[in-house]
Amino acid sequence: MKQVEAKSCPIIANHIKVALVGQPNVGKSMLINSVSNAHLHVGNFSGVTVDKTEVLFDYKEYHFTVVDLPGTYAFTDYTIEERVTHEYLCAENYDIIINVVDSTNLEKNLQLTSELLTMSKKVVIALNMSDEAKKENIEIDATYMEELIGVPCVKVSAATKEGIEDLIEAVTLKHESEKNKPKLIFSEPVEEEISQIVWYLDKHKFKAENSHRNIAINLLKGNKKTYAKLHDEPIWVELQPILIEASRHIELHHDSDDIKEAFAEEYASFNRGIVAEVVKQKHQQEKKTVTEKIDSILIHPVLGIPIFLFFMWSLFQLTFEIGAIPMDYIDMFFSWFGDTIGSTIANDDIRSLIVDGIIAGVGAVVLFVPNIIILFIGIALLESTGYMSRVAFLLDGFFHKFGLHGQSFIPLVTGFGCSIPAYMSARILKNDRDRLLTLFIIGFMSCGARLPVYVLFAGAFFSPEMAGNILFVIYISGAMLGLIAAKVLKLTAFKGVDEPFVMEMPKYRLPSVKLIWHTVLTKTMMYLKKAGTFIAAASMLVWFLSNYPHNLALEESYASKIEVAVDTSTKEDLKFELDELLLEQSYLGTIGKFSEPLFAPLGFDWKMSVALQTGLAAKEVVVSTLGVLYSLGGDVDEENNSLMGAISQNISFASAIAFIVVIMIYLPCLAASVVFTREAGHIKYFFYLFAFTSIVAYVMAFIAYNVTLFLT
């Protein structure tokens, strides 16, 4: 028992657990990459939406565990990132904080630092991007700064790997030494109130882990956790009036009714003081920085949007053109693999389960890996260069009209490719409600897997010249419906105050190859693992439902008929007939028959109903199901003219229109639904999505069916 514990929780004498904290865009992830050398072990915490990354490495006689916390501007719980970081810092066990700051923007970064200093934790400040600072003629006196704030300050550069060793050395030293007493000094009136409270706590010999000074500061700042702790203490009765009085004085001094605002001003003036002392910037004439030059083109009021559309178009072309190249090989590999494995298994049922069920299902997921890698590289590039924020800036106005956020654009566009990466990329939305709303309407962007269905139906009912236009109309009307749905959801389910849009526009940076490789690799592995394990299970289920229960009598009677038949075409026909009958009496067929009355108002027969339901597993299955059901055998594709013929004969025009509408709107495939549920954070959202898409699909299809009937 003890051994197991020691293994899972490696807190031993020479172990240092470091929390890496910093504001967004200060190069934290890059720093963590250059700190740890060859022995990089990266694991993802199973956070709901935001992942903390942990890196392990050894230095001298110490084992280091570095936890890379999401970037946060201050200790406000505004975004998921901030909440994760704040909670981790307050509740988890760790030995020391490395506070990463951007040397080129020290004053802004110190805002978080000064809050960290009130936590009574060991802190080391990493003055990152010192190489950039040098270029901008910014000189920071780290020794003097160390003296002024009372914590070690080390100049580093994640890009050039300068000072990395010094930083780890400083962490080690700090770890061995006493807790630091940071010298955070406020204005005189505030200091007076603090010492009043400290004096009171001292007098009553109040015992706490945090220093009395920090407790006093946290109380004055209105820190809820500190309040909760002291509220149960007997001294609270006397402390409360002192606090009320103190807060009133500070508010009066700052001419504000908001104590938090008052403290923010205190911190800011302290930071200004530090910066004035330690930073020397040789005066430069005001010339445009590179970022400003790039911005003058990329966020130009007229040119900005066309440029962005061009980038997106290129990304799509790349995703689907280059992604298509390895797809054939992957497809070939899996059918070869299936055949090879299949030939070694004697039992028909087991072979069918493994080859048609698991290998075919998993193969279908792996097939999309090239697309996903390219898309992820593209998105990582957009993010790490800083362009994503510009896109949000440009598009927020338009999207806001529909209740969406500027940053919703990326997941929505990705949705035209595949819903799975689209759901995953919705993480760039910081606000829960914005993200949920976006997740709900991603499905309206018709994914690549629905294309075969559209092609089939457009081909069956329209002339070849018209079919292309019809396809375009289907895609556009899907997107428009999505925007309308967003508006409706915003007015009903996601009602509430508009979430504010306040966002940093970071400097443009050249992306680091290592970092992008790293991000893409982790994301792709996650896709393979999660969607892969899941789709294997789902494929088994669909396989089972369409193959059972067996009807031996039927099979035998057909087997003898097939044997008697003379020419091969009759044999084939008989086989299809058998397939159809078997499917009709399988569980899936039973479900289809059972649900037929439900779909009757839309003009669907039981075959179409079944196709819709197998389509819940994956949209590609709709075509192959229809193929089987209309007596054509399993392996048909959208270009099979006789299936088109069968469909135009058996299905009325109005039913076909209604069918397309349902395909356009209803629930995306099972794999996507699972990813949706994970990204939304709760299973209940899946049921909401199911209800929402089903109702909308049904109503829209009903309208489309009746309008078409009326018109034709």
Binding site: Y73, A74, T76, Y78, T104, N105, E107, K108, Q111, S256, D258, K260, E261, A264, E265, A268, T291, E292, D295, I299, P301, V302, G304, I305, S389, A392, F393, L394, D396, G397, F398, H400, G406, D498, P500, F501, V502, M503, E504, M505, P506
Partner: protein
């Protein structure tokens, strides 16, 4: 009363008051938009729906609604 939204491109102003509710106010403060801070307007998005400003060395994008809550005066 002049707000940040009324400012033209390239104009420099000083913040007098934040009329935002607590959460948003905290957010603005964490971005350095607080009393006495100097703000420079850099760019307007089409239809002035969003504006880009510079506070210290940081560039920040704000929606028009948020910019309207920031009371400023010319310097």
């Amino acid at each position: 009363m002049q707000t940040l939204l009324d400012c033209h491109k390239a104009c420099k102003v000083k913040v007098i008051k934040l009329n935002a509710k607590t959460d948003l106010k905290q957010r603005l403060i964490s971005f350095g938009i607080m009393k006495e801070a100097t703000i420079e307007v850099l760019e307007h998005a089409p239809a002035k729906s969003t504006i880009e400003v510079k506070v210290g060395k940081m560039r920040i994008a704000l929606r028009a609604q948020e910019a309207k809550l920031i009371e400023v005066e010319k310097i």
